[in-house]
């Protein structure tokens, strides 16, 4: 649909950009525009091009396992950055790399941004599940901070522009992620990720698990995670009971029944925890 009354704004810096948006939330910030152009339902009054706002960067402080990613950084920029570090496959950066690499297609990953993806948060997001395993703060407007799970719930209720995300990950944990989709290029039906430690007597410690693609986009339940703690890695029955008795809260969509998704997830998660840990 072509509209005449929409305007484009290209502010000179981030301060100008978020103030423009706060003054009129109907002027929407643009990331890679892949989400905006999906709906083509332009009810807004204008667009903000963030290209002059210096939001494309990755800064890492290896000593404190902290990584800061600017909102306009694309998935491919994150992928290339991680590939050039000495990451381990089962580290946080390792699973972030494999998650983002399996999203969409190479040219789309040249466009999709971290900020746009977090705000848009499609049910097939490949970004969100790994992020829930770390301690993530979303920095927006005049350096305000909100933690990721609050952001996911509240993001549509307050005008803001994301500046960057700060990821604090635990280097001692081992990480794993897996995607379920019909074909490689297809959207993810769901993605689960988990991290854990093992005690010297081969018991699971500090288990954290998150699943995207559920009814509320992300499933993250501390009680569910706690049930794994102290479980012996040889206790297959205990593991089966924890996973198969849980309700992961999927919804039925045009392709799959909620029950089908739930059963596939349970089988894949059970196999992964059994084989990986």
């Amino acid at each position: 649909m072509i509209k005449t009354n929409l305007k484009w704004y290209t502010p000179e810096n981030f301060d100008e950009a978020y103030k423009l948006h706060l003054n009129n939330p109907s002027i929407m910030p643009c990331g890679g525009t892949t989400g905006i152009l999906r709906t083509k339902n332009f009810k807004n009054e204008g667009f903000i091009n963030l290209k002059n706002c210096n939001l494309s960067y990755i800064k890492e402080d290896k000593n404190s396992s902290l990584i800061k990613i600017g909102a306009l950084t694309t998935f491919n920029e994150v992928i290339d950055y991680i590939k050039n570090t000495s990451y381990k496959k089962n580290s946080f950066l390792g699973i972030l790399l494999s998650s983002l690499s399996s999203s969409a297609s190479h040219p789309l990953r040249n466009r999709i941004t971290i900020g746009g993806s977090l705000f848009d948060l499609p049910i097939w997001s490949d970004l969100i599940s790994p992020l829930f395993l770390a301690n993530v703060d979303v920095i927006y407007n005049d350096d305000k901070k909100i933690n990721l799970s609050n952001y996911v719930e509240e993001r549509k209720s307050f005008p803001h522009i994301i500046k960057e995300i700060e990821i604090h990950y635990d280097e001692k944990q081992s990480y794993f992620t897996q995607r379920y989709s019909l074909t490689n290029f297809d959207y993810a039906v769901f993605r689960f990720s988990f991290s854990y430690l093992l005690s010297s007597d081969k018991r699971i410690k500090s288990f954290i698990c998150s699943i995207s693609g559920t009814k509320n986009i992300i499933y993250f339940d501390r009680d569910f995670n706690d049930r794994f703690n102290d479980l012996s890695i040889n206790d297959e029955e205990g593991l089966r009971k924890i996973i198969f008795s849980n309700d992961f809260n999927f919804s039925t969509d045009f392709r799959f029944d909620a029950e089908y998704k739930s059963q596939v997830l349970k089988s894949l998660l059970f196999d992964a925890v059994k084989n990986i840990i």
Binding site: M1, I2, K3, T4, L6, K7, W8, T10, C30, G32, T33, T34, L37, R38, K40, F42, G46, F47, N49, K51, N76, A104, S105, H106, P107, L108, N110, R111, N184, F185
Partner: protein, 175 residues
Amino acid sequence: MSTFGKKKNYKKRLEDKLNIKISLNINGEEIQANTSATETLLNFLRRIGYKDVKCGCEEGSCGSCLVLLDGKATNSCQVFAASCENSKVITSNGLGDTNDPHPIQKAFVDAGAVQCGFCTPGMVIATYELLTKNMQPNEEEIKEALSGNLCRCTGYVKIIEAVKLAADYMRNTKG
């Protein structure tokens, strides 16, 4: 109203809405043209004559609309033209044409990787981005670089061969 009248009316309405002037470099030429706030780069390019940029799905899924936008393979249907002020766009014809084909275009012909040809401009652009970064890609890397390009005719085998051949041609040209 006759179909012609309707078309004329649509053209007039469209022209009224093309109220944003942008300057950008397309295939080495400085271009100034008008666009609307919501026109995609794909529709903009085709409207001003760059018909080698193909319109397939307009959803980001098929890759037929790929161009190099500031050096990166980009689905032009996923970008607003109005956001491309001062950008550098290269379409498949900007790399080479029938008289003076780019080694990638030559390789696609030589390998028999073109049937109907609809996907070819997008394939060429995706290959170009890959080979400018990696002159000796393995099959996995080729598949990954072409992951956003669909072809309904060839079955991909000859396309992958074409990319390998293009890499040979480009290495030889460089050497």
